[in-house]
C-alpha cells in the first residue's frame, strides 16, 4: 500500500472524507487548524460541504442539523472549543444522532496553552455535556490510527446512532508520519426509519427531538439508550497489550503518551526490569477485560498521562483496586520524556 507522509490533522480530515463524511462544520483553533484547512480545500471537490461557522457553538448545532438528515457529519476543535460544543453534543446524544467530534487536545483549564495535553479525559469519558449519556471515545497513538479510528468512529456512530469522539492531542495533530489509506467501503446503515430528509409527503414525517416533558417517557428513552451502552461495553473495547505476559510493572498510557511509555518500557526491559504496557484504544468503553488480562502477573500498575491523573480512577475500578495503581504525569502542555518515565519504573522496580 502506498505510504504517504501527512500531519495527523490532515490525515484525520482525509480519512473522514474517504469514510463518506459529507458535512464538516468547524471553527479554527490551534493545534487542530490544519484539519479545517484541509477540509476547506478538499471537501467541495468530493461533493461535500465545508463551512466555517461563526463559533464552535454554531458549528456543533450545524452538525446536529446535518446528522438529523442522515448524512455523515463531523466537527473538530481543541479543548476550549470542545467545551463550547458540549451543549450540542448532549443534544446530539439525546436525539440519538450519529456524528463524529474530534478533539486535538491542548493544555487547560480556561484558554490554557496550545501545547499537547490529555487533560480532557474526564470531559470525554464522563461528562461531555449535561445528562445521562456517553460517547464512544477513541484514542489514536499514531497518524495511521488517526485514519483507522476515524473510519471506525463514523461506522460505529451510525451503527449505534450516537456521537463518537476521536480524542487526540497537539503532538499527534502536528506530527507527520507515514500513513496508508485502506480501501474504505463504508457500511450502509438504513436510516430511512428516522432521518428527517425530504420525502414529498410519501410517509409520516420524522421528528428528531431531545425534549420529553413527561418524566416516565424521558426515563424510558434513557434506559433504552443504556441498554445499547451495555452492548457497546461488551463488544467495542479495544486495547494494545505490549510485553504484558510476564510483567511485574504494568504501565498504562494512551495516545501520544503511550509512545513515550513504550520507549521507556523497552529501556526497562534492557535493564532487566519486567515492565509492560497496556494501551487503551477505546477510552469509553474502557477495556476492562483487556486490562485485567494485561495485569495478570503485575504487582504494581503505573498510569502515565499528560494531565494530573484522570485515567487512574478508571484503572482502579477496572482492576477492582486489587493492586496499587501509581501515577506519573506532566501537564499544562509539557510532554513527559522516556527518561523521566524510566526513572519512575526504576523507582517502583526497586521497591518490588
Amino acid at each position: 500500500m502506498e505510504r504517504n507522509l501527512m500531519k495527523g490533522n490532515e490525515a484525520l480530515a482525509e480519512a473522514a472524507i474517504r469514510a463518506g463524511c459529507k458535512c464538516f462544520f468547524g471553527y479554527p483553533i490551534t493545534p487542530q487548524t490544519e484539519l479545517a484547512a484541509y477540509m476547506a480545500k478538499r471537501m467541495h471537490k468530493s461533493g461535500g460541504v465545508f463551512l466555517q461557522a461563526e463559533s464552535e457553538i454554531a458549528a456543533i448545532n450545524m452538525v446536529l442539523g446535518a446528522a438529523s438528515t442522515g448524512v455523515r457529519a463531523m466537527t473538530s476543535s481543541s479543548s476550549p472549543g470542545v467545551s463550547l460544543k458540549s451543549e450540542g453534543v448532549s443534544y446530539i446524544a439525546g436525539s440519538d444522532l450519529p456524528a463524529v467530534i474530534i478533539n486535538v487536545q491542548r493544555g487547560g483549564p480556561g484558554l490554557g496553552g496550545i501545547q499537547p495535553s490529555q487533560a480532557d479525559y474526564w470531559q470525554a469519558t464522563k461528562a461531555l455535556g449535561h445528562g445521562d449519556f456517553q460517547l464512544l471515545v477513541y484514542a489514536p497513538a499514531s497518524v495511521q490510527e488517526m485514519v483507522d479510528f476515524v473510519v471506525k468512529a463514523f461506522d460505529r456512530a451510525d451503527k449505534y446512532r450516537m456521537p463518537a469522539m476521536i480524542l487526540a492531542d497537539g503532538l499527534l495533530g502536528q506530527m507527520m508520519e507515514p500513513v496508508s489509506f485502506p480501501e474504505i467501503n463504508p457500511n450502509a446503515y438504513d436510516k430511512s426509519g428516522w432521518a428527517t430528509n425530504g420525502h414529498k409527503n410519501q410517509r409520516e414525517h420524522h421528528i428528531v427531538n431531545s425534549l420529553y416533558l413527561k418524566p416516565d417517557e424521558l426515563e424510558k428513552s434513557i434506559v433504552d439508550r443504556y441498554k445499547k451502552y451495555d452492548i457497546i461495553k461488551e463488544t467495542e473495547t479495544d486495547a494494545e497489550l505490549y510485553l504484558t505476559e510476564d510483567c511485574d510493572i504494568l504501565l498504562c498510557a494512551f495516545g501520544a503518551t503511550a509512545r513515550v511509555v513504550k520507549s521507556a518500557v523497552n529501556s526497562a526491559r534492557e535493564l532487566g526490569i519486567k515492565a509492560g504496557l497496556f494501551r487503551p484504544k477505546t477510552l469509553w468503553p474502557f477495556p476492562v477485560k483487556e486490562i485485567n488480562e494485561a495485569a495478570k502477573s503485575a504487582k504494581t500498575l503505573l498510569s502515565v498521562e499528560m494531565s494530573m491523573g484522570q485515567m487512574v480512577d478508571d484503572i482502579k475500578l477496572a482492576i477492582n483496586c486489587s493492586r496499587p495503581v501509581e501515577f506519573y504525569g506532566r501537564t499544562g502542555g509539557v510532554i513527559p520524556t522516556p527518561v523521566e518515565v524510566l526513572e519512575q519504573i526504576k523507582r517502583i522496580g526497586g521497591a518490588l
Binding site: L5, I114, M176
Partner: protein, 177 residues
C-alpha cells in the same frame, strides 16, 4: 540501525521546517520508519523555529527529540541552546556565517560551513538550509545522494518544480564544502 534523532533549529523563515521535511521524505523514499514534529508555539511566528525528525528501522516511540544524534543549527541562540544536548558521539552542523561556535565539548564533532554566504555567492537565495543538508549527507551515512534527490523531488510542490535544480545545486555545494 537504531533510531537517528535529528534536531533542526534556527530563525523562522530560514527553512528549518522545510529542511526537516526533506529529511522526513528521504526516510519515506528509503522505506524507513520516521516522524517529523515541528514546534508550533508562538516562537514560530517570527522567533526561533525548530523541528524534530526521527529516522529508524523500528517504529518511532516519542517523536520529540531532546538529545539529538544530529543537530543542524542555523542561528546563534539555537546553537548555544542545543549544542549541550547533543548525544556523545553526535554531530553538529551549523552555518558559520551566522554562528560563532564556542563549545568545549570533545565528545561531539562540529561541522561549520558558511552556508548563508555560499547561498548568496551562488545566487541561491534561501538555500542555506539545503546546503547544510548536503554537508549532512556527506559527513553521515544517513541517506545517499540518490535518496536525498528523491526526497527533494517529493517534497517540492508541483507549482514550484522549477526550483528543484536549485535545490540539487545547493546539496552539491554543501557536499563539496
Amino acid at each position: 540501525m537504531a533510531t537517528t534523532e535529528i534536531l533542526l533549529a534556527g530563525f523562522g523563515g530560514q527553512g528549518v521546517l522545510f529542511a526537516g521535511k526533506i529529511l522526513a521524505y528521504c526516510g519515506l523514499m528509503d522505506n524507513k520508519e520516521l516522524s517529523w514534529l515541528p514546534s508550533y508555539g508562538p516562537e514560530m511566528r517570527g522567533g526561533t523555529a525548530n523541528c524534530s525528525v526521527c529516522i529508524s528501522d523500528e517504529p518511532i516511540g516519542s517523536p520529540l527529540v531532546l538529545t539529538p544524534d544530529i543537530l543542524i543549527a542555523m542561528n546563534q541562540p539555537s546553537f548555544d541552546k542545543f549544542v549541550t544536548e547533543v548525544k556523545p558521539g553526535g554531530k553538529v552542523f551549523f552555518d558559520s556565517t551566522l554562528i560563532e561556535a564556542e563549545c568545549d565539548r570533545a565528545d561531539i564533532q562540529l561541522f561549520g560551513i558558511p552556508s548563508q554566504q555560499l547561498a548568496d555567492d551562488n545566487n541561491l537565495k534561501g538555500g542555506s538550509n539545503i546546503i547544510l543538508l548536503g554537508k549532512v549527507i556527506k559527513e553521515t551515512n544517513l541517506f545517499s545522494l540518490d535518496v536525498m534527490k528523491k526526497g527533494i523531488e517529493k517534497v517540492v510542490p508541483a507549482s514550484k518544480a522549477h526550483l528543484i535544480p536549485n535545490n540539487f545545486k545547493a546539496i552539491e555545494i554543501g557536499m563539496n564544502s
